[in-house]
């Protein structure tokens, strides 16, 4: 900031001097140089343009979030009042209190964490294993297998839905967390191919000589994997775990089917269920129904709050993830 102010001061001083010496042309060229730049892309005007665009787009982007936060804090009179658009007249935590109590939030959160955490853990473990196998060893039909793996990503879950549903029903996996853990252990979890690809491209970058030296000392392949490859792969492990955790946490289609009518539910589904019950409880047009909007927003905020906190602390890993999938070349 100080540097910027000093720059501006010297700039103004130079212009003033030039004007006093009646060097109008030089002054004009200097002004042009600063504002437009030697190329278009390094002048102040261009910078200003970019920042404005970014701020505007950022506002548009975050608009639903802002809407959720502010409206969930509004009291009934604020919602009805047209004049109150953004800032509630007073912070009203009542909505949150209602949802917190009715959902039994701590318990629901605990369940949601288990529901997301266990499958995420097993998916991470298995995909590290599989990714290492694909990256390190020559084997027949490797390319075919990898193509098949990527194909599986494109097939929409509706196609495999019916047989899978029946299979789970036959083995009585419906309504329990096992319906998510078993596929994850076998590397077929939610977005499984992506995790395998992340590990695949990471293990490709480890020099093979590192492992060969261990093999000369008599370590088996499995030992090489656990003692050398895995400790090096910690960043990838964190990324895969975070991603699969978030995806499992937000999953509603599969969990809506598999966990239908059971006691275990993911948090977003539970909030939705609660909101539906709440709506049907009060007749159309009653005062409680007016409060509905704010309460449902508060519920949604509570359901995404854990993820927001998680993201706040670990965002570096999320952002780095793309580099590690290796889809950008190398």
């Amino acid at each position: 900031m100080k540097v910027a102010i000093r720059n501006i001061k010297t700039f103004a001083h130079q212009i003033k001097e030039k004007l006093q010496n009646k060097q109008y042309k030089e002054a004009a060229s200097q002004i042009k140089h600063v504002f437009i730049g030697s190329k278009i892309t390094n002048g102040i005007l261009f910078k200003l343009f970019i920042y404005t665009l970014l701020v505007a787009l950022g506002y548009v982007y975050l608009y639903p979030m802002l809407y959720m936060v502010t409206n969930s804090l509004m009291s009934m009179s604020d919602i009805i009042n047209v004049a109150v658009r953004w800032i509630p007249s007073s912070l009203n935590w009542e909505n949150y209190r209602i949802v917190w109590q009715d959902l039994n939030y701590p318990r629901a959160l605990m369940q949601a964490f288990i529901l997301a955490g266990l499958p995420a853990l097993s998916a991470t473990a298995s995909s590290a294993f599989i990714g290492y196998g694909f990256a390190r060893f020559r084997m027949p039909f490797k390319k075919t297998l990898m193509t098949l793996m990527i194909m599986a990503f494109i097939i929409p879950p509706q196609i495999t839905m019916l047989p899978t549903f029946r299979m789970y029903a036959n083995y009585e996996l419906l309504g329990s967390i096992r319906a998510f853990v078993y596929p994850a252990i076998l590397g077929q979890g939610l977005n499984g191919p992506i995790y395998i690809l992340i590990f695949y491209s990471f293990f490709k970058t480890i020099p093979k000589s590192l492992e060969e030296s261990a093999q000369l000392d008599g370590a088996s392949s499995f030992k090489v994997f656990t003692k050398i490859a895995l400790p090096l792969a910690v960043p990838s492990i964190i990324i895969v775990f975070l991603f699969s955790f978030v995806w499992y946490y937000n999953e509603t289609y599969l969990s809506g089917l598999f966990l239908r009518g059971s006691d275990m539910l993911t948090l977003p589904l539970r909030v939705q269920q609660y909101i539906n019950e709440y709506t049907s409880m009060y007749p159309e047009g009653s005062r409680a129904r007016e409060l509905m909007q704010a309460v449902s927003l508060a519920g949604n905020i509570l359901s995404i709050l854990p993820l927001l906190i998680l993201y706040f602390f670990t965002q570096r890993h999320f952002v780095e993830s793309i580099d590690r999938t290796g889809i950008t070349g190398e």
């Binding site: 892309t41 970014l54 975050l62 490797k142 047989p163 937000n250 909101i275 949604n300």
Partner: protein, 418 residues
């Protein structure tokens, strides 16, 4: 003829024999399992009740002298039970591993299979030479073995089974499926007698083409803005990636219900309404839908922005400098340098966008298929599982066509431009 009869007879006897064998061996396996269970229980009981460590209902006695009373606090219980579990896992794990090693040795060094360093001998007669390449193949397949099994069970089998079901009329009778062959009648019904599905599928296709293009362009713009020489790159990336973390069906459903996904100022501009009024319904409806949830379309761009940004950062700055020396402005260098080098990434982002938008749980087509599958649809022509399988295959084909269309369009451009 005799030979034929013999061949016919063989499977039956073998079948009966195997059934008898399995039936005979089942009680034995059960006995072994119960024995193992009992031993484990005995070990667990012994671990809690011995001279060093004695646990009664609320007291823990060490060395028969020091007594500690467990207060009814959760952490006390947690600590004690946790310690037990840990101890048990360590001891039992060690025991099992040593046992397993011995077993493994016995299994690989006997008269049937003899594992030597460079060859494996079967029945002391047939040798199989183990070369380095073969060993590597074997270990590699061992590593991905769980994936192969999972793929067969959870991906390949359901895919083929649903393809099979889509040619049948399926009724649920109890837990069994009652199949009745229909040929391609299901598929015919999709196109000929289900006007609703064809309509929403057409809308989906048009919407997808518009939305995907907008998402990609938006992602490209944002990625290029962030890639400029600006302050706080990390912060901007964080902001634009945020929706990936928080979007889930119910959250978005609430936002749509409350009208928070449309730009607040769009309704104030009459000209959009005017455009909508003046074009045909086939284009106007998807456009209207687009404007109603434009922010959602933007929200799907999180991962794409990161992919394109990573691609932009990989482009060598020297190329731009060389181009600007030759007199190319930013406009030319965008079309001649930036876009061509991003092309492979753009096709990846297109595939990703189409897939993630198509499988999103609020997609109308998906909701329709799901309702038919679970028998919650009120439509009269539903024939349950078989019909919904046919629907989802049609959906999949349309989705692949859209992907092909986009990728094809891109590769044509590449050929034309050189």
């Amino acid at each position: 003829m005799k030979i034929l009869n013999i061949i016919k007879a063989i499977p039956k006897t073998i079948k009966e024999k195997t059934v008898r064998f399995v039936k005979g061996i089942m009680p034995f396996i059960q006995k072994v399992l119960t024995f193992i269970k009992r031993t484990i229980k005995k070990i667990a009981v012994f671990m809690r009740h011995n001279t060093v460590f004695m646990k009664e209902k609320n007291d823990v006695t060490f060395f028969e002298n020091y007594t500690y009373t467990i207060k009814n606090k959760w952490y006390d219980k947690f600590l004690i039970n946790g310690a037990f579990v840990l101890l048990f896992v360590v001891i039992a794990g060690y025991g099992f591993i040593t046992l397993f090693k011995k077993l493994w040795y016995k299994m690989t060094h006997n008269k049937i299979i003899m594992n030597e360093t460079t060859e494996i001998v079967f029945f002391q007669k047939f040798t199989y030479r183990v070369t380095n390449k073969r060993r590597e193949n074997f270990i590699g397949i061992a590593f991905i073995f769980i994936w192969i099994i999972g793929y067969l069970i959870f991906t390949l089998y359901p895919v083929f089974y649903s393809l099979y079901l889509s040619f049948f009329k399926v009724r649920l009778s109890g837990r069994e499926l009652d199949l009745q062959f229909e040929g391609i009648n299901n598929y015919r019904a999709v196109f000929l007698s289900d006007p609703y599905f064809v309509t929403i599928l057409g809308e989906y296709a048009v919407e997808m083409i518009i939305n995907v293009s907008i998402t990609i362009v938006f992602a490209l713009v944002i990625a290029m803005l962030i890639n400029q020489d600006i302050k706080g790159k990390g912060a901007w990336r964080t902001v634009f990636f945020l929706p990936v973390i928080i979007t889930s069906g119910p959250v978005i459903a609430t936002l749509i219900n409350q009208g928070a996904t449309t730009l607040p100022s769009i309704e104030n501009y009459g000209f959009i309404q005017q455009i909508l009024d003046n074009v045909g319904g086939f284009i106007a409806n998807p456009l209207q839908a687009l404007f109603n949830q434009i922010l959602l379309v933007f929200w799907f761009a999180g991962i794409q922005i990161l992919i394109l940004l990573a691609g932009l950062q990989k482009i060598d700055r020297a190329i731009y400098e060389a181009a600007s020396i030759d007199g190319a402005g930013p406009w030319e260098s965008f079309w001649k340098i930036t876009l061509p080098s991003l092309m492979p990434l753009i096709s990846i982002t297109i595939i990703y966008t189409v897939v993630s938008m198509s499988v999103f749980s609020l997609n109308e087509v998906i909701i329709y298929i799901q309702n038919i599958m679970l028998g919650e649809s009120t439509s009269a022509l539903t024939t349950g599982y078989g019909y919904s399988a046919a629907l989802s295959w049609v959906y999949f084909v349309v989705m692949s066509l859209i992907i092909l269309l986009f990728v094809g369009a891109i590769s044509i451009r590449k050929k034309v431009s050189g």
